[in-house]
Symmetry: C3
Subunit: 263 residues, 3 copies
């Protein structure tokens, strides 16, 4: 069965119960409103589909998993728009980190910022063993700040100290470095990333589904509840920060740099 | 001095202040009501004995430290019985994790589920370097779920991420793997496990006792208080879960599998 | 520019915005009231100096970074004095752990107890690769107890389990061991410790200052708030503990041992 939207292609294998979500939003799977909305709807539909038990998230584009949040959604846009955008980012994380399905990130390209967030919100991470691909929460490099729930998810993955240094310096880790600090769980050759994810998913689906879901919820609920009880304040904080003149200037400079790089 | 009950033999060396608790409940030191009750009483008595400063917990049976909670106590028994059983399990953990004595697990055999819980509730873990012996919180393999205080104890030992994967997949680690992730602290040859524990205990008893106890309490009290303030709800949750038809079926299947293995 | 007090020399390079604080209180930079007070004032002044963006903390004495809290401030002194002393220790930690400046510990000698606390309260730790230098929270060796905010800072650096064993046994780690458990971040030859710190500081100052500060605050505020909301009780606990006869005896014995060692 194929469910296809413009930004995400879904292949669901009814025999195994495993869906693959291919992000296909050129040039770099930036998480703009459209992609976020489709991501959230797709995941919600798969979670309600009784034939689906696990989902693999990957990219159909070369060399990039996702470039993270689309800066154009927060550069010179209205506070209202920034707020709606942030709500969609929250929604993605809430749905994915708390997903009842087993979730594996098949990271077949670079995965900075929001791309890293998607990865660490999954149950397991397999990355292409290409040292030119990098992953990390590099928000400070852009003059912005990862919110506490990005930080919590990172700390739940690699611990407090590594998170503190990674976020403070905006570190992007090469695939081997990411394996070394536990930011990803396995490296395989680029053409084997999705296959290995499919194979690994078998181990997760072999576990009694109810026991697996209750265990996952026990591990993640306290982190999720922190945002759930605080969503409006978090949106408010984000909008206040991102609409500051100094922050807008940083974003503008970053966009100009990206443009020059391409030029 | 020997204090001996039917399920646990205690050797207390008055000259060193070190007691060894040998679990001797064939065939596999399953934690049934009798063993739990004797464990709790023995530990309580040692803690009140002013001549005792440290306790080593080990097994007198070959190849097994403890097989964990006895499934027969929760399979086709009354909710009342399940509740009493769970209360005794809580009691063991509360007493051991918060024990004023220095505690070392001398893990001379496999140590799944409740056996692992006893191990990680001690101050230090020495395991036989036999790769066929394994240790881990493998509850999900049986279709059941480790409660949050098992999880907290595990996370306090090996961190959040390793715990999440270990519990989600019900992983059992071989002795070398357990050393590698920090689930045990030291491997020694099988015949040296208890000797090494006795020798190591000397380091703990060399520390000023009051300072050691206050420090231990500081490290563990927040985790212990979470259960103390919530014991009844935790018993209720356990009984609700374990008496579900689907969970009883899982336990029945597991018992049948064990029986066939032996047969 | 040089700001020099009797116990601390400060070199602030206006061109780079990096200050070096040299502790110069012979024989071992013991943290007595004078050194604590000057440390706190110096750090406060640097934080308010708009030309200063990062601070390196090091020692001008051979073979010692800081020997930690001065026992003479808490041995056979009045409860009032103990309370004031402890307040100054709290103040140092609150200021340093929450410092808006980027902070690097250039650990060019041994760094037990309070010396270790200063180190782990910085953003980054560079230590001389001399295996005879050691670092750790060894309070229990003196019969005293590191308070929960020492413990929290340690756990934020090396995790819960390592902290539990380190504090319980009063472990002092050699420089290579400290690197291995993540208690320090880098080892360099003794004559390169401050140079390397200066070079490394460049990476921290390359990050947008506001983003770096907000990120640091996000990582550390929960730990800081625990003490801020509880300072008086913490002082009371310290004074009650340290003025106990048994604890005073332990301190007396420790002081006698130090004296004999020198004699």
């Amino acid at each position: 069965m194929n469910i296809t939207s413009s930004k995400i292609r879904v292949d669901l294998d009814q025999s195994t119960g495993v869906a693959v979500m291919w992000m296909q939003s050129p040039p770099v799977n930036s998480l703009n409103m459209d992609l976020l909305t489709e991501f959230n709807t797709t995941l919600e539909n798969l979670e309600m589909d009784k034939s689906c038990h696990g989902v693999i998230i990957t990219s159909s584009l070369p060399r990039i998993f996702s470039a993270g949040l689309d800066i154009l959604e927060m550069y010179q846009t209205s506070p209202e728009h920034c707020g709606q955008f942030w709500k969609a980012v929250q929604e993605l994380w809430l749905k994915l980190y708390g997903c009842n399905l087993a979730t594996i990130a098949a990271i077949n390209g670079s995965s900075p910022a929001g791309g890293c967030l998607i990865s660490i919100a999954c149950d397991y991470r397999i990355m292409a063993d290409n040292p030119r691909y990098s992953i990390g929460l590099n928000e400070t490099l852009l003059g912005i700040v990862a919110p506490y729930w990005f930080k919590d998810t990172m700390a739940n993955t690699v611990g407090h100290r590594t998170t503190e240094m990674a976020l403070g310096l905006g570190l992007l880790y090469s695939a081997p470095e990411a394996l070394n600090i536990g930011l990803v769980d396995k490296l395989v050759s680029e053409d084997q990333v999705v296959n290995t994810a499919t194979h690994t998913m078998g181990k997760w689906l072999a576990i009694d589904e109810h026991a697996r879901q209750v265990t996952k919820s026990m591990m993640r609920k306290p982190t999720i509840d922190k945002l759930l009880s605080n969503r409006e304040a978090d949106i408010h904080n984000f909008v206040s920060f991102i609409t500051k003149d100094s922050v807008q200037r940083s974003l503008g400079m970053y966009l100009k740099m990206l443009k020059n790089r391409k030029g």
